[in-house]
């Protein structure tokens, strides 16, 4: 085929494409039923787009949390719904990837025409949707993602951190080690990514406030294989406590290496380091390594403690299986959404819902502290408890710890 004809053809359809876009934009007919200005709401139902990583390597963070949220919405429906409307949930798999998450959210908004989006277990993926939901003015309420980059600075349409941000993690860790363990020189190990950057920020601020100093700041990749180098530096730094905010693989390697080096000082880990205590002990390889070991948690009790039983039993009854560690984190956002939908009145709009959600004051019975938003606050939860674990059993350390770093330190 001759070049000139192809050229003409391309030019022609470029024009046609532009024309069609013009036509399509003009063609956007308003819903015949003008009763509701926003999509996703009718007399009988409210449509919620619910997404989490349901496949791939992050499945463990999201799958059960999403099911827990669904469990909550089903219960609301069983009790008659909200202002007579049932909640209809559309489920999507965001695979913890920014591109996939954005695709799922776009599908929810433009094809499924949901009223609001509830989802996201991975911060860096959830951030991908922020610009889009802001442009489209769609409420985006994260599931169990920490969401630091998307809630600091806060924007109107994005709500998150129902389990606490990474700032919560960093700040409360330092609060704990300085106040309860009397630490003055802290060795800090984090990941070399957005997580690490965010928790370190709050940790440093808190250390300065509490008269302590961070004498070693080691950033490791999530895939690190040999932790000899960071642990050597930590040992040489003269620290009196080690704080670990990595994920569980590197954390186990670090605790193990510390034990090999005969390091005896306390080790305090963030919640993301110890999703499964039994496996963690096996990975470290010895109970003796836990002589002086603590970990933090945003829950109000041990993961299988008495205060958490009602959620676990409920989940087991609903789905006939034992939940994975992060399951109960899925409930607070559903609770907050249902409450805000109610408070927004019998004929809610998206904007009305957002105003109601921003005024949330909620005690979940699951988390260490209340869920609170505000006009300029989009991170919902800020509290941590700490638990001492000796390789066999856990004991809760009394007290609730917070991150006190202001929005702009």
């Amino acid at each position: 085929m001759r070049n000139s004809s192809i050229g003409k053809l391309f030019g022609a359809f470029g024009l046609a494409a532009a024309l069609s876009v013009g036509v399509a934009s003009a063609y956007t007919v308003k819903d015949p039923q003008q009763k509701y200005a926003d999509p996703g709401i009718t007399d009988d139902e409210i449509v919620i787009g619910l997404h989490a990583p349901l496949s791939g390597r992050a499945k463990a963070f999201g799958a059960d949390a999403l099911d827990a949220a669904r469990m909550w919405y089903d219960m609301i429906n069983a009790r008659g719904g909200i202002w007579g409307r049932k909640i209809r949930v559309i489920v999507g798999d965001d695979k913890c990837s920014p591109n996939d998450l954005l695709a799922v959210v776009k599908k929810f908004v433009t094809e499924d025409k949901v009223f609001l989006v509830n989802g996201g277990s991975c911060t860096h993926a959830a951030v991908a949707a922020q610009e889009y939901v802001t442009r489209e003015k769609v409420p985006f309420v994260m599931l169990n993602a920490a969401g630091d980059a998307a809630v600091f600075p806060p924007t109107r349409y994005v709500f998150g951190a129902f389990g606490g941000t990474q700032r919560t993690v960093g700040g409360s860790l330092i609060d704990f080690v300085t106040k309860n363990l009397g630490a003055k020189k802290i060795a800090y190990i984090a990941h070399d990514d957005d997580f690490g950057a965010s928790n370190y920020l709050a940790a440093k601020w808190t250390a300065d406030q509490n008269g302590a100093s961070i004498v070693a700041d080691q950033r490791v990749s999530r895939k690190i294989v040999d932790v000899t180098a960071p642990m050597l530096k930590i040992r040489a730094s003269g620290a009196d406590v080690i704080v670990i905010t990595t994920y569980t693989g590197p954390a186990a390697l670090l605790v193990k290496k510390a034990h090999e080096f005969g390091i005896k000082m306390p080790i305090v880990a963030a919640v993301q380091a110890v999703p499964n205590l039994e496996a963690f002990v096996k990975n470290v390889g010895s109970k003796e390594a836990f002589a002086n070991f603590y970990y933090g948690s945003p829950l109000n009790d041990l993961t299988d403690g008495p205060k958490q039983q009602w959620v676990i039993d409920w989940f087991k009854k609903t789905y006939n299986r034992t939940p994975t560690p992060f399951m109960s984190y899925g409930i607070p956002s559903a609770m907050a959404i249902a409450q805000a939908l109610h408070n927004a009145g019998p004929n809610p709009t998206r904007e009305g819902f957002i105003d109601a959600l921003a005024a949330t004051r909620l005690n979940t019975g699951i988390l260490a502290g209340p869920i609170e938003f505000g006009d300029n606050k989009r991170d919902g939860h800020n509290a941590s408890i700490f638990i001492k674990y000796d390789g066999a059993g856990s004991t809760r350390v009394p007290g609730v710890f917070f991150n006190r770093m202001p929005l702009n330190p």
Partner: protein
């Protein structure tokens, strides 16, 4: 039907689909189309290097990333129209491509592949760690791009521009195929020794191929900023590279229709599999292997000769 008529029919069909998408599809469908068009430019660009010049180079995602960040940053800071920012992104990518090309031309096959792959991973690490410029692991947010008459704020508005850019890049490829440069690349793919003997500057041809390929990736990066609003280094890594590679190999290495078919097939496969949850990875791998086992020359290598009668095919298309 004669070959020429057949091609005309296909071309008209493609145009029809492209026009139908925004008219009858939801904005989500338009978004998918935007993604596929961007992947088309990426895939065609890699094919120039891999399929036509025969260079096993896998640094493509590095140039893609350079294009994305450059275009987005210039736009974020100056708000210049995209007809300026996208070529700027492509130019920077091409520049880096030239720098890479010079040492790369000394390497072949396995070593070239590994070196360029390592370069892509180093670029990924830089994207992740150079916070002050790329936003690091927090990603980079884009301001809406400027058309000169207004800004683009959604997929529908971006679509016609994405289409035109993709069409333009494909048109260039078509011209490249038939040009002297194209023939030189073909020659060095066949045998560098023979090409050298017949007076072709092997090093220069390779370098040019690298640069052009990088420029394509840079343009694709610019396209990304037109319809997306955020980038995270993870979409600039190994998985994307494998996706593009699979597209061109399964579609048909070295053939334009093949590459485009591969883009559509592999680009839409995740959408089709979205409901399958756990089995996705497994299925993806099985499909990949199955295609390679039964159509090692790609879909186009398999179906092309069936659709287009042999006698009428031009000599250039007759090459295996």
């Amino acid at each position: 039907m004669t070959n020429n008529r057949l091609v005309l029919v296909f071309a008209v069909a493609i145009v029809a689909v492209l026009v139908a998408v925004p008219l009858f599809g939801s904005i989500y469908v338009v978004f998918l189309a935007n993604m596929l068009l961007m992947y088309a430019v990426l895939a065609v660009g890699l094919d120039i290097l891999l399929g036509r010049a025969g260079q096993f180079a896998f640094a493509h995602t590095a140039f893609f990333g350079i294009g994305v960040y450059t275009t987005a940053l210039i736009n974020n800071h100056t708000g210049l129209p995209f007809v300026l920012t996208i070529p700027a992104g492509a130019a920077v990518a091409a520049l880096v491509g030239v720098i890479i090309a010079l040492p790369a031309t000394r390497l072949r096959h396995l070593y070239l592949g590994l070196a360029t792959f390592a370069f892509a991973e180093v670029a990924h690490w830089v994207f992740n760690n150079w916070e002050s410029v790329t936003g690091g692991a927090n990603g980079l947010r884009f301001q809406p791009q400027n058309t000169g008459f207004g800004t683009i704020t959604n997929d529908l508005q971006a679509y016609p521009f994405v289409v035109v850019i993709a069409a333009f890049m494909i048109w260039i490829t078509r011209n490249l195929e038939r040009s002297q440069l194209g023939r030189r690349m073909e020659a060095i793919k066949e045998s560098e020794a023979a090409a050298h003997a017949s007076g072709i500057s092997v090093t220069r041809t390779k370098a040019v191929a690298f640069t052009i390929s990088a420029a394509y990736a840079g343009v694709a990066g610019g396209m990304y900023t037109l319809f997306q609003s955020y980038v995270h280094p993870d979409v600039l890594g190994f998985d994307t590279l494998v996706l593009i590679l699979s597209m061109i190999v399964i579609g048909g290495l070295g053939t334009l229709p093949g590459v485009l078919i591969g883009v559509v097939l592999l680009g839409l496969m995740p959408e089709a599999m979205r409901g399958l949850k756990v089995m996705q990875e497994l299925l993806y791998g099985v499909i990949l292997i199955a295609f390679l086992m039964f159509m090692p020359r790609g879909v186009w290598g398999f179906f092309g000769p069936l659709i287009f009668s042999r006698s009428e095919r031009k000599p250039a298309e007759d090459k295996p």
